[in-house]
């Protein structure tokens, strides 16, 4: 146990890095994903096509490749992120947004067509009917799939360890070499770090799911 106590600052910093990676890129992915979902159901063909292209591009590319591109590829077109943490946030957010979009779109499709028709009959335009009638109902139905996306994101942050972000997985690599005799404890600490993020999330998701369920 003294080993864990000695290395507590390291473990804490690594945990906070993983947590902030997940939260910041989660918020960005939610915003971008919502925008993409709106584009995919919009009446403008160009927007629909653009959003579909985006989703298929990022949903079908391995996350590691996205990381590689943002870390080492965009230099060749004279672009650069100010820090490696932001590179990781961008990669995670761009990738996860595609999944958020698809989850949301399934929710939008689950809202009965009569809702949108009624909104239009009342004189709401596309933006108004989407933001005040369709999306609020869509979000309620997609709490479980969005929860899945969030948990997957929290675990996907581990790829950032390979791209110079000192997260929990990077700590595992570091301590498994320098403290090889305490390997079991290192594993416990790192796994616990991830579980502290994902298990309460799973609980909150199930509570939200029950609270927000639409009784039809």
């Amino acid at each position: 146990m003294s080993f864990l106590a000695e290395n507590f600052p390291l473990i804490r910093d690594a945990f906070l890095t993983t947590l902030s990676l997940a939260v910041v890129s989660g918020i960005c992915a939610l915003l971008l994903g919502t925008l993409l979902a709106a584009m995919r159901v919009s009446p403008v063909p160009a927007l629909r096509g653009l959003a579909t292209f985006y989703v298929e591009l990022f949903r079908n590319t391995p996350l590691t490749v996205v990381f590689f591109f943002l870390a080492f590829g965009i230099v060749y077109i004279d672009l650069q992120f100010p820090s490696r943490f932001l590179t990781a946030v961008a990669a995670l957010a761009l990738y996860t947004a595609a999944f958020v979009c698809e989850a949301l779109r399934s929710g939008i499709n689950a809202v009965p067509a009569g809702q949108a028709e009624a909104a239009r009959a009342l004189g709401l335009d596309f933006r108004q009917s989407l933001t005040t009638v369709v999306l609020p109902q869509a979000f309620r139905t997609v709490v479980p799939p969005l929860g899945n996306v969030w948990i997957a994101l929290a675990k996907n942050t581990s790829i950032a360890a390979g791209f110079a972000v000192a997260d929990l997985t990077a700590l595992l690599q570091r301590l498994s070499n320098s403290a090889a005799d305490e390997l079991a404890l290192v594993f416990v600490a790192v796994v616990a770090g991830y579980l502290v993020i994902t298990l309460p999330s799973a609980y909150v998701i199930s509570v939200l799911e029950r609270r927000l369920a639409i009784v039809r």
């Binding site: 870390a71 080492f72 650069q80 390979g162 110079a164 990077a170 570091r174 070499n177």
Partner: protein, 295 residues
Amino acid sequence: MRITRYAAGFAAAGLLLAGCASEAGNQAEEAPETTAEVEEVEFPEGSTMAEIVEAGELRVGTKIDQPGFGLANTAGEPEGFDVEMAKLIAAKMGLSEDQITFTETVSANREPFLVEDRVDIVVATYTINDKRKELIDFAGPYYEAGQDIMVAAGNPENIEGPDDLAGKSVCSVEGSTPAENIRTNYPEAELVLYDAYSKCADDLRNGNVDAVTTDNVILTGFVAGAPDAFELVGNPFTEEPYGIGVQKGEDEFRDFINDVLEEAYENGTWAAAWDKTAGAITGTEAPEPPSVNRY
């Protein structure tokens, strides 16, 4: 009917593969002979050397991803300075090159392979240290590496040694000994840690880091690959003596390997092996051979 057709397909593929394999074999035979000359020798009854000669096979663990030391060629056979050392030892036991069985050992499984008797010797850029000596024994050293620094060509930041790294960003691999050394002894350097040295090289090329640090033998490989982009500081600040791992308590075998090494130092086969492998890649002359440590 369909099954027969599949079977025919497999058979055809098999023939094709066999063809490729034999072709590779021919190429290997045509390759120029090594520095090692096979000799007839007698070993005392019951010694490890006698047992290996009896079995007609020397099992060698080596790396296959380390240019200059142990790198698999297109035929899948390892080549490099480590491999030459193994061939020298085999030759002195009267074994031909065909009687050497190479097994890949990565950094993490070198001790286990010896302890579990899956290989007779490990020649794999294997640093001698006391922690490893608790599990296995070392012959050699046969080469002395050291932690060094690689910078962008022209050395724009004027880095001459580890002390100049203060306030500079330096790249290495998470979990490696060089990274740990910088972290403990040069805490003012800003460490950037990837999971592979190739990413460090990319970052140095892009100007995202000021330097890359690890064993000089790894860095010289990068410099040789891109002499326009990289430059080696050439001021090693740690000592990494590479030894040949044998199973614990094999003192007789260890003495034998040490004799082989010392003879090779003297008659120039060691230097010739260097010129042919690591020296050919880096363009450096064979260094002064390290003195063997018979502990």
